[in-house]
Amino acid sequence: MIDTDRIPGPEWLPGLPADFDPENRLDGRTVAGAMFWVPQLTDAEAIMVADAVRSAALAARRTHRAADVVVAAGRAAARLADPSDPYGGAAREALQAASGCSRSAAAELIERNAAGWTGPVLSRLVRSELGELAVLDEPRPDLDRPGRRRRAVGPPVLHLVLAGNVPGVAVSAVIRALIVRSGVLCKLPSAEPWLVGLFARALNEENPALAATMAATWWPADVPGPIAHEWTKRAGKVVVYGGPEAVRGIRSRTPPSIPLVEYGPRVGAAIMGPDSTDAELHGLARDACAYDQAGCVSPRLVYVLGMKSEAEVRSLLDRLVVALGDEITRLGDVFTSDGEAVQIRAARARYQFEETDGALAFGPADLAWTLLYRSRPGAYSEPLPRVLWVYAIDRLEELGRLRGVLEGRLQALGIAGVSEADRRLAEELAVELGVSRVTPPGTMAWPPTDWRHDGRMQLLPLVRWTDLETAKHD
């Protein structure tokens, strides 16, 4: 249970009267079953919040520079990463309750994410996508075009529909929206609803004027209600992260006049050759178990490439089994829902009962992890926690034959233990399939801040550009 003395409600709703006392509350439940409550806003209250955020964002453009946002957001986020800070302690406790993970795993999740929330890292992200930070404050000379200046800024209000599958990523999305100088209206994820609100409160202590430019609350995705309608209507752009249902739902209710930026579902894969080391297999296990494999970068499909014999395959699988067991021991508690348990057992059963394709299933009785192997190429997987679907391939061309399934759907690709020639081929294949990141196992689950999510930039889709030309150019 969440200790409500230490962890405030998930919502952050500036603009409401000081004596605001909601008539009703909505109750939600996280992945691991922790309950939370948020006020149920009336139409008028939802509009009040949206208008207040918009006004505050426009005011902040006059009083703050983008560099101030980076500094304030970095400081607020650093407090979440600091276990001795009350917000840092609350963040760990909330994350633990939300996902059912251990205290140490919660700490690791927050600290890994926080590495991307520091001022220098955020500044680097802006430079890599927009050229310089100041372009968000004022027109800046275009060095390639004498006489031309450029200005970039986000819409006055961005509506973010956040996903909670990768705890902390929602905070990253909010920070990016603040940096482009937009007011931010967030729909919180039920999977992990608290971190964004804790970030907002920490930001409020660092810089109240900037905290007033964001609002966050939750509503059931299947009963969006008037608040979803009002917030969408007032947004200059809607950004949605999540699974197919979430993306479809938002798409259907967003008017065509409002641009929609979608980060939809994808899957991670790894190609493991015969020379894969124990360290690389442990890295793969770590990537697969991080945040219960719920991210689009999480490896789910594994291709064992170019094994010379069944014994060689078995040896690699045995080493991967050890790595998965070690990773679970390192993480401590892991959570599996009742529905997931039933589906994992069903998946295991298919491999344990069937004799075809050299089917093998490994995994402990408590379902902490599962490895399912077939001795032929395949692309079947299900989004279940800590389950690897392993297929044997002799040559990379066999993966190319699965292009129809994998193209545009693979997010991250790990490669290890293959020859240099195969590595080059695999990298080329990754480009053709639209993989957004190729990286060694062990780093798949933690992409850097300036990674091209879904093959796209992260700030660029949020902003609008204005070119200011004062002289004729060629």
Binding site: P244, G264, R345, A349
Partner: protein, 376 residues
């Protein structure tokens, strides 16, 4: 796997099945609970046979490291998840020796993933069915007028329910019994008299109880037809309405309202309703009388444990979990079946609470299964 400990599989199975059938028949004459050691001995005998002679199950037991040497209590018998029935043919010996081949409806995993239950010896199914049915539905009478609202069994339709209803009709039906197939709803809509009206009137005229069997949906539709035609018949005391399947396949259908209306229309009290719980993967059934919360009771050769879905540890009485059945009538396939159903133990009965909701995908990870299906 042609032999089990020196005995041909067919003989080993036939001997054990005959022993069980005799025990089922003996229970009908003396319907008392079996002592735990009696159930355990029989269940472990069946497990040993299945471990030796059911090839996919043997492979499964080996994969999870369980053999008859270390399975010494009936609770330790490894249950086959219902998903296994969708993946392989679970039968003792050669699948070609199956007398009956039943298919699941695909309610859980969709029509593309229907499960198969091969029945090596139909007599075992019949022996498991008749005594408990007579006990729960006919109040011990040898025969009764039976009206079945379900198509007769045909191998091409491979429905275990149809076979079961036919067997009840054959073995327990008195003169005046039979099937009706036409949908009452369609008949009512077309302005025709719903089928079965003559059977109702004949039973009423003769003063003989009538037992009406069907799925909850079929009974609901049939009553709608009767109602639309303005039919009202008072069935004699002792008549029963047995429904099975619940609201499966139709959202919004509430059993209590639907069956309650039917009872009212036939002039029957609430206790005339009997609910049957069965699964294609099991050859024994549970029954509960009345409406509301249903305490389902079965014969002593069917035991059910309520387990924690993750750890598979037994949940205390009254707590929810998933149902794991141990059905000795499954002597020709697997006696232990782990379902995807939620339920709880209530004394010596089980309350069925529905399917375990499917896992909601967490976040933005993609099921490539969907993509493969989309490609197919």
């Amino acid at each position: 796997m042609d032999e089990t400990r020196g005995t041909p599989v067919s003989e080993a199975h036939a001997a054990l099945a005959a022993q069980f059938e005799a025990a089922f028949a003996a229970w009908e004459a003396d319907p008392r609970a079996w002592p735990d050691d009696v159930f355990a001995t029989r269940a472990l005998d069946a497990f040993r046979l299945q471990f030796e002679a059911n090839r996919p199950y043997h492979r499964y037991c080996r994969a999870i490291g369980r053999t008859p040497d270390d399975v010494v209590t009936w609770r330790a018998i490894p249950p086959a998840p219902t998903a296994a029935f969708r993946a392989v043919e679970l039968i003792v010996g050669d699948p070609a020796d199956a007398e009956l081949r039943f298919r699941t409806s695909g309610t859980t995993a969709g029509p593309a993933a229907r499960g198969t239950h091969l029945v090596r010896r139909s007599e075992t199914y019949r022996a498991s069915l008749i005594g408990p049915f007579r006990h729960a539905v006919l109040d011990g009478r040898r025969r009764a007028r039976i009206l079945v609202l379900h198509p007769p069994f045909a191998p091409s339709r491979d429905s275990s329910l149809a076979w079961m209803l036919d067997a009840a009709l054959e073995d327990l039906g008195a003169p005046g019994s039979g099937h009706i197939e036409a949908s009452g709803r369609e008949a009512g809509a077309a302005g025709r008299m719903p089928a079965g009206l003559d059977a109702l009137e004949a039973a009423a005229a003769a003063g003989e109880p009538l037992v009406i069997l069907g799925t909850t949906l079929a009974l609901t539709d049939w009553y709608e037809g009767l109602s639309a035609a303005g039919v009202r018949v008072e069935l004699p005391h002792g008549s029963r309405v047995l429904d099975t399947g619940g609201a499966k396949g139709r959202a919004g259908l509430e059993r209590d309202a639907a069956i309650g209306a039917l009872l009212d229309g036939l002039g029957l009290p609430e206790h005339a309703a009997v609910n049957e719980f069965g699964m294609t993967e099991l050859l024994s059934q549970r029954y509960a009388g009345g409406l509301g919360r249903l305490a389902l009771r079965g014969p002593p050769w069917l035991r059910t444990r309520v387990l924690d879905p993750v750890s598979l540890e037994e949940r205390p009485e009254g707590e929810e979990g998933i149902l794991c059945h141990y059905d000795l009538a499954n002597v020709g396939s697997v006696v232990a079946v782990l379902t995807e159903d939620r339920g709880r133990a209530v004394g010596d009965a089980v309350e069925w609470l529905g399917r375990t909701p499917g896992a909601t995908p967490r976040g933005c990870s993609l099921a490539t299964a969907e993509l493969l299906e989309a490609q197919a």
